[in-house]
Amino acid sequence: MRPPVIIMRTDGTNCDVETAYAFELAGGAPRLVHVNQLRNGKEKLDRYRILAIPGGFSYGDDVHSGKILAVELTSFLREEISGFVAAGGLVLGICNGFQVLVRTGLLPFGEIGPVRTTLMVNDSARFECRWVRLRVEQSPCVFTRGAAGQVVEFQVAHGEGRFFTENATLEEIESRGLVAFRYVDAGGNLTQEYPYNPNGSLNAIAGITDPSGRIMGLMPHPERNILPHHHPNWRRLKDYLPAGRFVFENAVAAAKEA
């Protein structure tokens, strides 16, 4: 059976359709649901196995990117989300979704609560859309299962993606191996150098997981690299396989196991 995937939308969400398609392609059963439908009870989180918060500009990214939606979720859906996570549900936040997850506290340590890490304005102070190289890190993350060590290319498209936190938290994230993706240069080495590290993220961190491995957020867009013609230079590459698919395939596989 296809595990049900809730693609949570709200005002300003704009990567919902392609994210749903990515799950569809990976064998999931995605459904676009507006946060209002969860608030008014017409939809229930516990009917789903995977919660995906797609990219976009939720509520215009006013105040901070993803902040207004994070406040809405922690004010009205705290128990539902905590229950969903406790029951082994998977949570994926891409770009704006990642920003929402860190601002609910769900990342990095899996619990709704204080904001421990943040995503700041890019060092360039600009929104930028470009393809970057990422190294998949060794971590408990189920979304990256079997991919550790690979270098993949995804597109980034954001103005507030600079991963930042204070030293103690950063050390804890590193020591517990919670980094899922890092920006790397042409040689495959992690880098602070622009544009390989497009926003100046600490330790070149592009995506992280919670200790359970079932919650992941990342700034780059795996859903923009799932079709043969997605890569900007697919015409130059022999038998190119879209490198973003494993994220969704792993999620669907893990949802089936649970």
């Binding site: 005002d11 300003g12 969400t13 704009n14 990567c15 359709v17 392609e18 398609y21 392609l25 507006h34 209002n36 439908q37 990219g55 976009g56 500009f57 509520y59 215009g60 990214d61 006013d62 105040v63 901070h64 902040k67 207004i68 406040v71 809405e72 004010s75 009205f76 601002r103 904001v115 421990r116 890490t117 943040t118 700041m120 304005v121 890019n122 060092d123 360039s124 102070a125 600009r126 929104f127 930028e128 859309c129 470009r130 393809w131 597109q155 498209a157 600079r162 930042f164 936190t165 938290t169 867009h221 923009r224 799932i226 079709l227 013609h229 997605h230 900007p232 230079n233 015409r235 130059r236």
Partner: protein, 944 residues
């Protein structure tokens, strides 16, 4: 009293926004005295106490990980200068709504208003004059923003609703009629007299609302008087411009392609699997000239609503942007009074397009920027938008008497009053001060949620007809929808941003992000429910009637009662005459270059050729997951492609191609061949990536100086060019727009822009696997130049321009040969023999080869033929010619017989372009040097 919260970064952290300002202070303004800039966000709340403000500060406004905050006290106390910049009262701050929502979500009670602004802290010994310059040139656009010097008393805007005035027009003399028109109605005396006659006939004086709606409906912007006028050229009458374009489209009779042309908010053509694609290209020159950020943003928002308002509602899937400015390095003292500097205009227009498109989630991936000193009179800001709609929903239904007039989306404010009439007027040194209110900033999220709601309503079949509230606001949208039946609206029902609007202001307001739908009574409840589910405000404003009149009430008061017939058909057809005298030009004498490499670099760094990558990178071109051919590609992602290819139906191979062409300077020499060039360039760009030249639709945009005298004659020739091209190529025009007011009339100077004809093209192809990019793919490949040209036709070329000449003879493209060439290139690409393809345009063969080599990362060796001037061979700009890369050993015979081509040479492993003549080296230049020249200009402007 207001609660104030200030939020800033922890002192130890670098402030990227502050550094961006510092960069501009130093590079754009050349002010060195500033050492550091830091920014502080200021929030103000009305109706809550300090405790509640503190809760908001901690739960919403600041994050202790990287920020600190203060409540009701300053945050930065040691700055040398502090400047707070806020939106003017009445200018909607998009963030205010989010602050209200989040506060409510957090359980904060009593909040009645919220606002936010930005505080800039300057460190360094800057003088008062320097601070003044920084504030005026960088931080504040006074049409929408102001410097906050003292804490405001309240955030609420109010005032008694303005009353409806009666205009005693029946007794006015000509001078009084002219005075009534000036700066407000922009109608000529003849038109004012017609209005006077009408009200003498109906034996009453009009309300201000009635005069305003007539002025708006009869404005050039809305009614296109010139394009509908009778035209007499050199004493002989010719058909009206619009008639010529529509007859050409009728003659090519592409019912296989066209679903609707010129009748809807965008032109619609068939796609695949029961879907249709549509396109509309708009201009937003006047607003962008006085508030570039808001002007460009609302230009995008407006053209997106044209797509949303097509048929029963289409989904916006792509956006394009084409700009014309004066060069960024233009000396400030040469900028006419009342105009803004192009460096500022360029950066702010790009930011406006960026923020609206990115927030809406519309990929922006085709465009260009052109520069000419005369655009200092008025920039040209062209924004295109493309959409997708089920073919069976592509036709509007006719509103029926009893159908409700439903308005959805943003609230109505005093924004953009007189936008339509103002857009139809020439710029003057008074434009900025008099028409400030004609501009606003956009609210992309309001439009996005409205788009989501309206698509849901369309899919449930709830929408009879829909259109956007653009120029002219309710007056235009409701007036046009009800033109066949009659309509009655109640202005007091319109949700307002603030009290104090007069009825005529509600009627004419051009507040953004509003759509008007005709909804059958039985569908209204469900329609409203869908809007609520998407946080979209919607009200029933009135209903369609069978009276043939446009009636409007405000409470009990009737403020508008006009016959639709007079409103829409009362304006007599104009008669315009002109004589055509070709401009008196000469062909320059230019000697062959001595330092060829240097000349190549000057061409590559010309503003009209140089890389625009720093602009493209700030647009999201991957959103929606549809991109199959990006604006820049190749090994270093810095090789430009000719067009964009999308796959609008995810998982299907069907491609949609979008391209465009324009070359304003050619129109100064010859508007006919300049027009042909623009159209040929647009189609060639599409064909270069693999499009079928028989599966395309065309869109025209004329941005012209005020068309009197010679410029009307030029316009006449440009329109003929479009019609001739359409017939020769068997391609239809399905949408178009003219903006005929790009003349600056100041006290000391009259400046005309170079006439702009921008041709946009979009089409379909069955499988994106059959498309090709411009980057060279491998070494030892064969390079061909395909197409027909006369090398000596160098008029208007970049090569002439860098020598300071305009020239006389522009490329005269052979309309008989062009279709053969395009088909040949297309079939060669389809056959898979073509590894890379790039069309030849500005900068000629040299620029095309260099751009292909940038993408490939290696070079080429070219043998220049004898009997042709080598410089003309390299720099001729005849559109409709292509450079093809064919795999080694391929027989050029893949091209059908009779198609003109030249074997240029081959690709080589070395990163150089090498040119030989008479079997001897002529010159070589390294890609590194060419690339540096190519990338420098926009890097300097954007600091990328």
């Amino acid at each position: 009293m207001l609660q104030e919260v200030r939020v800033g970064l922890l002192p130890a952290l670098r402030d990227a926004r502050g550094e961006e300002v510092l960069y501009e202070v130093r590079t754009a303004l050349g002010i060195e005295s500033v050492e550091t800039v830091r920014t502080v966000k200021v929030y103000r709340f009305e109706g809550i106490d300090e405790q509640a403000a503190r809760l908001l500060a901690e739960q919403l406004l600041s994050e202790a990980v990287f920020q600190e905050y203060r409540v009701n006290e300053p945050l930065i106390t040691d700055a040398d200068r502090l400047i707070e910049v806020a939106y003017r009262p009445g200018v909607m701050n998009p963030e205010a709504g989010s602050l209200m929502k989040a506060a409510a979500d957090l359980g904060v009670k009593g909040l009645i208003a919220a606002d936010s602004s930005l505080e800039y802290a300057f460190f360094g010994h800057l003088s008062d004059r320097e601070l003044e310059t920084i504030t005026r040139r960088l931080l504040v656009n006074e049409t929408v923003q102001h410097v906050v010097n003292k804490k405001p008393e309240t955030l609420l805007l109010g005032g008694e609703p303005g009353r409806t005035m009666i205009i005693p027009i029946r007794t006015m003399n000509d001078a009084e009629l002219a005075a009534l028109s000036a700066d407000r109605l922009f109608l000529n005396l003849e038109e004012m007299r017609l209005i006077q006659d009408y009200f003498r006939r109906v034996e009453r004086d009009p309300t201000d609302a009635e005069v305003e709606i007539l002025a708006q409906t009869w404005s050039e912007h809305c009614v296109h008087k010139t394009f509908k006028a009778r035209i007499i050229v050199d004493g002989k009458e010719k058909k009206p411009f619009l008639t010529r374009l529509r007859e050409a489209t009728a003659d090519v009779a592409r019912q296989d392609l066209v679903l609707s042309a010129f009748v809807d908010n965008s032109g619609v053509m068939r796609f695949y699997d029961g879907w249709a694609i549509c396109g509309k290209v708009e201009t937003h020159n006047a607003p962008s000239a006085i508030e570039p950020y808001g002007g460009a943003a609302t230009g995008s928002g407006g053209v997106f609503r044209d797509i949303m308002g097509t048929g029963q509602g289409a989904k916006v899937i792509a956006s394009t942007d084409i700009f014309c400015f004066a060069p960024p390095e233009t000396p400030p003292e040469t900028i006419p009074a009342g105009c803004l500097h192009p460096h500022y205009l360029l950066r702010r227009v790009v930011a406006g397009v960026r923020d609206y498109g990115n927030r809406m989630g519309i990929p922006t991936n085709n465009g260009s920027v052109h520069f000419h000193p005369d655009f200092r009179a008025k920039p040209s800001v062209i924004v295109g938008s493309y959409g997708m709609i089920p073919a069976d929903r592509a036709q509007k239904g006719r509103p029926r008497p009893g159908d409700k007039v439903v308005v959805a989306g943003g609230r109505t404010g005093r924004d953009g009053i007189h936008g339509a009439t103002f857009s139809s007027a020439a710029m003057t040194d008074r434009t900025i001060t008099v028409n400030a209110q004609a501009v606003q900033i956009g609210h992309a999220i309001e439009e996005k949620r409205m788009a989501d709601a309206l698509l849901a309503a369309r899919d449930e079949g709830l929408v009879r007809a829909i259109t956007d509230c653009g120029a002219g606001g309710f007056a235009s949208a409701v007036g046009e929808m009800g033109a066949e039946t009659g309509v009655l609206i109640r202005l007091d029902r319109a949700p307002l941003k603030y009290t104090g609007l007069a009825p005529w202001e509600i009627l004419l307001s051009e507040s953004q992000e509003r759509m008007v739908a005709a909804v059958a009574p039985e569908n209204v409840l469900r329609f409203m429910e869908l809007c609520r589910d998407h946080n979209v405000e919607a009200v029933v404003l009135g209903e369609f009637t069978d009276t043939g009149r446009f009636e409007a009430y405000h409470d009990k008061e009737k403020v508008l009662d006009l016959e639709m017939e007079f409103l829409h058909h009362g304006l007599p057809q104009r008669v315009l005459s002109c004589t055509f005298n070709p401009p008196d030009l000469t062909e320059p004498e230019i000697l062959l270059p001595v330092d060829w490499a240097e000349v190549c670099c000057r061409v590559m760094s010309h503003l009209n050729i140089c890389s625009k990558e720093p602009i493209v990178r700030v647009y999201d071109h991957g959103v929606q997951g549809t991109n199959a051919l990006p604006p820049y590609g190749g090994v270093a992602a810095d090789g430009p492609n000719d067009a964009v290819v999308l796959t609008p139906i995810l998982g299907k191979p069907y491609g949609m191609v979008i391209a465009h062409g324009l070359n304003p300077v050619l129109n100064k020499i010859d508007a006919y061949w300049g027009g042909i060039w623009a159209a040929a360039e647009a189609v060639a760009n599409a064909v270069a990536v693999g499009a079928d030249p028989q599966e395309l639709a065309l869109i025209d945009n004329f941005i012209w100086p005020v068309p009197d005298g010679e410029f009307l004659a030029y316009l006449d020739r440009a329109v003929d060019a479009c019609a001739d091209f359409s017939r020769a190529m068997n391609l239809p025009f399905i949408s178009g727009k003219d903006s005929l007011s790009s003349t600056y009339k100041g006290k000391e100077a009259v400046i005309h822009i170079p006439p702009v004809l921008c041709i946009s093209v979009f089409g379909r192809l069955p499988d994106v696997a059959g498309t090709v990019t411009a980057d060279l793919k491998r070494e030892e490949s064969l390079l061909l130049l395909v197409g027909n040209r006369r090398e000596e036709e160098m008029g208007g070329s970049i090569y002439y321009d860098i020598h300071g000449h305009l020239g006389k003879t522009v490329p005269r493209i052979d309309l008989k040969k062009l279709p053969e060439v395009l088909l040949a290139v297309h079939s060669a690409i389809r056959s898979g023999a073509v590894l890379a393809c790039h069309d030849v345009s500005e900068g000629g063969l040299l620029a095309a080869l260099a751009e292909m080599a940038f993408g490939g990362g290696f070079g080429a060796e070219i043998e220049l033929p004898e009997g042709v001037r080598p410089d003309f061979f390299l720099f001729n700009e005849t559109a409709g010619c292509f450079v093809l890369e064919l795999a080694p050993g391929t027989d050029p015979g893949v091209l059908p017989a009779g198609v003109p081509y030249v074997v240029l040479g081959k690709t080589i492993p070395e990163p150089d372009l090498r040119f030989r003549r008479n079997a001897r080296p002529l010159f070589a230049v390294s890609l590194a040097r060419l690339r540096a020249a190519y990338q420098r200009p926009m890097k300097e402007v954007f600091g990328a």
